[in-house]
């Protein structure tokens, strides 16, 4: 971003008297705060007058909404912030706010944008009135996602501009520009941070919170807000005109970072790759030699930039995550090195060590060291005492040869236990169970089908699938793993919780009533941690499903790391392992509790008292009855 005159003055003051300057800055504006990238985005939204913020939790985006809620509570800012039932609903709530002239924002992870893609494509045509920012956090790696998809490509498909921050500091700065573009051109604007922006912390200067005095005001205009196909064509034409102008918008034009360089080569970077490249070019002594352009707005890429960069440079290296969005817009293929010709990896996160190699190759330097292969780390596992582990154990007992479809959440880790065979996307456990049922319908031997889905995921996308399964009379068992929270992303409330993002009291939706309302005739609730009773309950459901139709078991026990429901936790039962243990490792393989460790010297199982939560379930797991209550 270009430096403002005020910023220049401050810089001069700093150069002249650094220590005194810091002291004065501290007194005047307060010390910088350590902010997570997602907190910086939240801070930026509130500084710029965001009045409605919605989200559905998903790593790496979850902390945006929770930070908004925390900051607004602390500073009594009248913002509506809420977790919505899914990303599509979250999008539509925030979008209607901008139709009423307010500044609004919706945040989600990249695969959440798939869920919200229906309103996204349409909203691009209708445009925004108040500023509307769609924050879609990508996860190159992937660290905590199903795909490495690039939300910038979704912005391109929808035909809306997208900004690509390189750091928490820049993500916060971009909020004000995003709102400016959105209101100037009446268009939704995407902010696309990646995991390394969302989950980095930086020292950041907090500013004053913006003006919140705008009133909601909806101007009826059916040709726009309820456009029929004929008017859609007109809106599409207008959208193209907006994009033409945005592709020439000065404030988001690519920036040449090292002004004085001149070379036949140039490097184009965006997002966190820009942050890595700056540091590495300096370390390699290339900063004064090869020009580096940082793209702020990968789509639409500025037209003048495309023309000039192709005219001025013979060789261009483009580093971006995760798809070649900038690269595809540079027409002259003969000059470009990037993902399309394999110079930059098309998969995975682009780590700084890989960028170092690319830059050395590009500049004709000898790369000093190869990329090292380290030992793999530990795989994640369900916590000691997690109620899901008990549910999976019961499912394997009840339908040992079943097909186990599952879903997105902590319980995906049931695959360590051999109790999860499929994970596709949110809600698919139920529809895939239906698919397997139909696939095996004409076989003489039909397998039991047991689907598992979390409470939050069931609300998110499971309900339409369950209705379909009822209509088609699918013979399958659905176990709703109701741990009363959205656990994997940091224990956000669900529609059944009865409270909202800041703990405020809300209506609670009853899962049993919902299941029965979908038309399910067998619906029973049990506590998986009372495993002796729970196994027969799942067996009963499986039996029902074999003979009659869909059966639902609600496995209800609160998450151990949820803070809200401590009173519902069972009394702790402490266990020990007796000499009856023969070291068969049944408990290790079929239960995989982190608190049960195998003592290799004595060839027997042992309990780690630091990790054991005292759920007592393992007492019923050991086939030799060697685990006993202390």
């Amino acid at each position: 971003m270009r430096m403002q005159p005020k910023a220049l003055l401050i810089l001069k003051a700093w150069v002249a008297k650094p220590r005194l300057f810091l002291l004065i800055m501290e007194v005047c504006v307060g010390r910088k705060k350590l902010m997570l990238g997602n907190e910086a985005i939240a801070q930026g939204l509130l500084e710029n007058g965001c009045a409605v913020a919605t989200s559905y939790p998903g790593t790496p985006a979850s902390e945006i909404l929770s930070s908004i809620t925390r900051i607004k509570e602390k500073n009594s800012i009248p913002v509506h912030s809420q977790w919505a039932v899914n990303e599509k609903v979250a999008f539509e709530i925030a979008y209607a706010g901008c139709m009423a002239g307010l500044r609004t924002a919706v945040s989600m992870k990249q695969v959440g944008l798939n869920v919200a893609s229906d309103p996204l494509m349409s909203a691009a045509y209708m445009g925004a009135r108040g500023g509307f920012i769609v924050i879609s956090a990508d996860d190159p790696g992937p660290h905590s996602s199903q795909t490495e998809q690039d939300s910038r490509l979704m912005a391109m498909m929808a035909k809306i501009p997208v900004l690509d921050p390189d750091s928490p500091v820049q993500a916060k700065e971009m909020i004000s520009i995003a709102y400016e573009i959105s209101e100037t051109f009446e268009i939704p604007v995407m902010l696309r941070p990646t995991t390394r922006v969302c989950h980095s912390r930086q020292d950041i200067q907090a500013e004053n919170f913006g003006s919140f005095e705008r009133n909601a005001d909806f101007k009826k205009d059916p040709a726009r807000w309820a456009a029929t196909p004929k008017f859609r064509f007109k809106l599409h034409t207008e959208l193209e005109k907006k994009l033409e102008k945005i592709a020439a918008f000065k404030k988001t034009a690519p920036v040449k970072l090292n002004k004085k360089t001149a070379s036949g080569k140039a490097v184009i970077v965006s997002g966190v790759a820009a942050a890595h490249t700056r540091e590495i070019m300096k370390d390699l002594g290339l900063w004064d030699k090869i020009p580096v352009f940082q793209v702020i707005q990968p789509y639409p890429l500025h037209r003048n930039f495309i023309a000039s960069v192709c005219k001025d440079y013979d060789e261009i290296l483009i580093i971006e995550e995760t798809m070649p969005v900038i690269e595809m817009q540079i027409a002259d293929r003969t000059r470009v090195r990037g993902k399309l010709n394999g110079f930059v990896s098309r998969v995975g996160e682009i780590l700084p060590e890989a960028i170092e190699q690319m830059l050395c190759n590009f500049a004709g330097l000898k790369a000093e060291k190869a990329i090292v292969q380290s030992q793999p780390g530990r795989r994640p596992t369900l916590c000691a005492g997690c109620p899901h582990r008990a549910s999976f154990f019961a499912i394997k007992k009840a339908a040992p040869k079943g097909i186990y479809t599952s879903d997105i959440g902590c319980y995906t880790l049931g695959l360590n236990l051999g109790a999860v065979d499929t994970v596709l996307c949110m809600g698919a456990a139920i529809s895939q169970a239906e698919g397997f049922y139909h696939a095996f319908k004409n076989e003489s031997k039909r397998p039991d089908i047991v689907a598992t889905i979390g409470d939050s995921t069931f609300f998110h996308a499971g309900i339409p699938a369950l209705i379909d399964a009822v209509v088609q009379n699918v013979h399958f068992t659905l176990v709703i793993l109701d741990n009363r929270t959205t656990a994997m992303t940091g224990n956000q409330p669900t529609p059944a919780s009865g409270f909202g993002a800041s703990g405020e009291t809300l209506e609670a939706v009853d899962i049993e009533a919902l299941v029965k309302g979908c038309g399910v005739k067998f619906c029973k609730t049990g506590d998986p941690c009372k495993i002796k009773e729970f196994i027969p309950l799942v067996k009963e459901a499986v039996q029902y499903a074999r003979n009659k139709g869909p059966a639902v078991v609600i496995a209800r026990h609160p998450c151990l790391i949820g803070r809200k429901r401590k009173e519902e936790q069972a009394k702790k039962i402490f266990v020990e392992i007796t000499d009856a243990c023969e070291g068969c490792e049944y408990c290790i393989r079929h239960f995989e509790c982190p608190a049960i460790i195998f003592d290799n010297d004595n060839k027997r199982a042992d309990i780690d008292p630091l990790l054991c939560s005292g759920c007592g379930v393992c007492v019923h797991v050991c086939p030799k009855k060697a685990i006993v209550i202390k």
Partner: protein, 190 residues
């Protein structure tokens, strides 16, 4: 426009297993850096790995633009499990230090200091404070190491005052945390 006084440029890797409190001590160190007027950058592991998987933090103090540390660049490693040394030792540069939670001192090829933080935290009656015991121990670096790379960029007192700020109004937690930090700091380094 982001500039501040750079007392020392420092790159530190902190790793462990989800649930051990890697993020918390990363945060304390980052806050200490801000308190000393330094620029700071961290990169953290969130999400699925936090369920008992390997968790890794990068901490960079000083004038850096990238949130990640490259191989052979880190000044030191704080390892909450001995296995983390094999996983993340490749980040370390020549002459780097390692402070590890381990009953016996592992052979690493780096200047390594081990403390049984698991046992010490159990002894102090606070089994969840392994992270702070190890951090307390690591803060001894500047006392025992010679030369330019003396250990952490901040002192025991710095971390104590950060803790006091972070746990304001939670006296019991603060006292327990300071006790854990002191327990680690009191261990003699061999």
């Amino acid at each position: 426009m982001k500039k501040s006084v750079n007392l020392q440029r420092s790159q530190i890797v902190i790793s462990g297993v989800g649930g051990q409190g890697v993020l918390f001590i990363t945060r304390l160190l980052a806050e200490a850096a801000i308190m000393k007027g330094c620029q700071v950058f961290t990169s953290e592991t969130h999400g699925m790995a936090q369920r008992g998987g390997t968790v890794l933090s990068h901490l960079k103090v000083g004038d850096f633009s990238s949130p990640l540390i490259r191989p052979f660049q880190a000044d030191g490693l704080i390892a909450l499990k001995p296995e983390n040394i094999l996983q993340h030792g490749s980040f370390l540069k020549k002459g780097a230090w390692i402070f590890v939670n381990s009953g016996k001192k592992p052979d690493t090829g780096f200047d390594t200091y081990a403390v049984d933080a698991d046992a010490l935290s159990l002894k102090t009656g606070n089994p969840k404070s392994v992270n702070l015991v190890l951090l307390g121990f690591a803060l001894k670096g500047e006392k025992v190491r010679q030369g330019e790379n003396k250990g952490l960029f901040c002192t025991f007192e710095d971390i104590k005052s950060v803790l006091a700020g972070q746990l304001k109004g939670k006296k019991e937690m603060l006292d327990a945390s300071v006790r854990a930090l002191e327990t680690g700091y009191a261990v003699s380094v061999k």
